[in-house]
């Protein structure tokens, strides 16, 4: 059941996208997420879609795997599409279904919004698929560095992030382990009335919390034992460096954005 969730799962590789500076990746994705809202016609959408698909191809991660991993999100995308189909009343009436008039505008609108949604999730999941959690937090710490001036605890925030990211797979494993142990003791998580199934969660959650707290305590102790005392004066093993490749990729991205603004309707 846990195997279908890929958000937050790193797929090792050596593609251009994998090797890109994580700060560059985050910046590009951040801008992409903003500019996707500027697309408003077929051409501008195609440019962004082409960019996203190109990125997917470069990563060499099998497309089937990415799509399968997005299964939980498909529901949301389809729901958005249907909602737009029913609610929007623009353009000409195409067909009438079960008393609902489907307008041409609704079809276009629904398709555009769903596509936008899909691209958003696709491109952001590509970030975690091609970047190790450590790289992401290093990058975020670096990008947020200016906030230190106003006494914002950037290092602590980055540490919290890296710890939570690090423990997502561990907790999933733990959940799997405990649910299997309880299933062996006759708990049925999948069938039966809703009330029984909700009750079945208790034997899963209690041990999970207990072990999470225990783990946190052990981690804190291990960090103190190794002399951890926060960000001040702490040096880094992995130095982030912007290379020529990063600049080229960024310029290419700017070109895409320029293309978007040339093709969009005003």
């Amino acid at each position: 059941m846990n195997n279908t969730i890929i958000i937050g799962q790193y797929v090792p590789g050596n593609s251009l996208v994998h090797r890109l500076d994580p700060r560059m990746k985050i910046t590009i994705i951040f801008l992409f997420v903003i500019f996707i809202f500027f697309a408003n016609n077929v051409l501008s959408y195609s440019i962004l879609t082409a960019f996203a698909l190109l990125t997917v191809i470069i990563t060499k991660i099998p497309i089937r795997f990415i799509l399968k991993g997005l299964t939980p999100v498909w529901f949301l995308i389809i729901f958005t599409f249907i909602l737009h189909l029913i609610v929007t009343k623009e353009g000409t009436v195409l067909i009438e279904l079960l008393g609902f008039k489907i307008y041409s505008g609704a079809l276009i609108q629904g398709f555009a919004i769903s596509l936008r949604f899909f691209l958003l999730i696709l491109i952001t999941s590509l970030l975690t698929l091609t970047t190790t959690p450590i790289e992401i937090t290093d990058a975020i710490e670096d990008l947020l560095h200016p906030l230190k001036k106003i006494k914002f605890p950037v290092h602590e925030l980055a540490l919290m992030m890296s710890i939570s990211l690090r423990f997502i797979p561990t907790l999933l494993q733990e959940t799997d382990k405990i649910s299997k142990a309880q299933a062996s003791r006759g708990v049925d998580f999948r069938t039966g009335p809703i009330k029984e199934r909700i009750k079945a969660i208790v034997p899963l959650l209690v041990p999970l919390f207990v072990s999470a707290f225990k783990r946190a305590e052990e981690l804190a102790m291990a960090m103190e034992a190794r002399g951890y005392q926060g960000g001040e004066g702490r040096s880094k093993l992995r130095q982030l460096k912007i290379r020529k490749m990063d600049i080229i990729v960024f310029l290419f991205f700017l070109l895409i954005i320029a293309g978007l603004f040339v093709t969009r309707n005003y």
Partner: protein, 290 residues
């Protein structure tokens, strides 16, 4: 209940970049009533194997038969719950599965799920709690107040309270002190004989395997590497060393002894005192020859 594996393969996360073959064409047969030790290096597929024994995992290929229950790639038995009530699994570090307010409630959790009546649970509790070496005074305490060793015993009691016919043990003594390890293994051994169980023990300890098991399966990289009685398997030093396993200390000693004194004492799963006597006799015999 008999356990039969026929060409079982299992792939984790099939059709993804993380696809990982854990079992490959595994076949074996465990007759009802035997005590089987499954031994293998970390990652050899032992844990995956035991999850097939009560339908937690369905084989990607091949088929598993537990008694009358048939599990294969296309079909899971309808009555999984019934199967699970007859196959008790003590997982690694089973104390991690404790959750209820009191020890008594936690032990009763399994049987309650399988529909055992309250009076029957009470009756079973009276036998099982002393059997696993727990004090009855602990029954009303929270399981989280207990020591690690006591928690382990509570968790084991929780599995035994279901009264399974097949008992699956995944390194049940890992992390316990030597005395606790011996107590718990002896308890399983007694239970195995008294209740005529079929026991599958996953272990790293060659000593435990020699002492308790009557059949040994050695796993390596998801396949069956060797199988046989402890006498057959543990005397093959080279083959075992090849998969990073050692011959049990007792046999190591016996080999060294035979080499040093030119004797031929056979390993027949003697107990240590019995072996000491044989050695004594062999040495005496040698003395009188001179």
């Amino acid at each position: 209940m008999d356990i039969t594996f026929k060409d079982v393969s299992y792939i984790y996360q099939a059709n993804s970049p993380f696809a990982h073959k854990a079992l490959e064409n595994l076949s074996f047969h465990i007759p009802s009533g035997s005590f089987v030790a499954v031994i293998g290096h970390t990652g050899s597929g032992k844990s995956t194997l035991i999850q097939h024994l009560n339908g937690l995992l369905t084989p990607t290929k091949g088929q598993v038969q537990i008694g009358d229950y048939l599990i294969n790639a296309d079909k899971k038995p309808e009555n999984l719950k019934e199967l699970r009530s007859r196959v008790g699994v003590v997982f690694q570090y089973p104390e991690h599965q404790l959750f209820d307010e009191t020890v008594a409630k936690d032990i009763a959790f399994g049987p309650k799920n399988f529909g055992v009546t309250k009076t029957e649970i009470q009756k079973r509790m009276k036998d099982i709690v002393p059997a696993v070496g727990l004090d009855e005074k602990l029954l009303n305490r929270s399981p989280f107040d207990l020591s690690g060793g006591q928690m382990r015993r509570v968790a084991i009691a929780g599995v035994l309270a279901v009264k399974p016919e097949i008992l699956v043990l995944d390194e049940p003594t890992a992390g316990l002190d030597p005395r606790g390890q011996r107590e718990i293994m002896d308890m399983f051994s007694t239970l195995h004989k008294e209740q005529n169980l079929t026991t599958v023990l996953v272990t790293h300890s060659m000593e435990d395997a020699v002492k308790y098991a009557d059949h040994v399966i050695i796993m390596n990289k998801g396949t069956k590497y060797m199988e046989g009685t402890p006498e057959e398997v543990f005397t093959q030093k080279e083959a075992l060393n090849q998969v990073q396993l050692d011959v049990p200390e007792m046999i190591q000693f016996l080999n060294a002894f035979n080499e040093r004194f030119g004797d031929k004492i056979q390993f027949k799963r003697q107990s240590i005192p019995r072996l000491a006597m044989e050695i004594q006799q062999a040495l005496k015999g040698a003395e009188s020859d001179e």
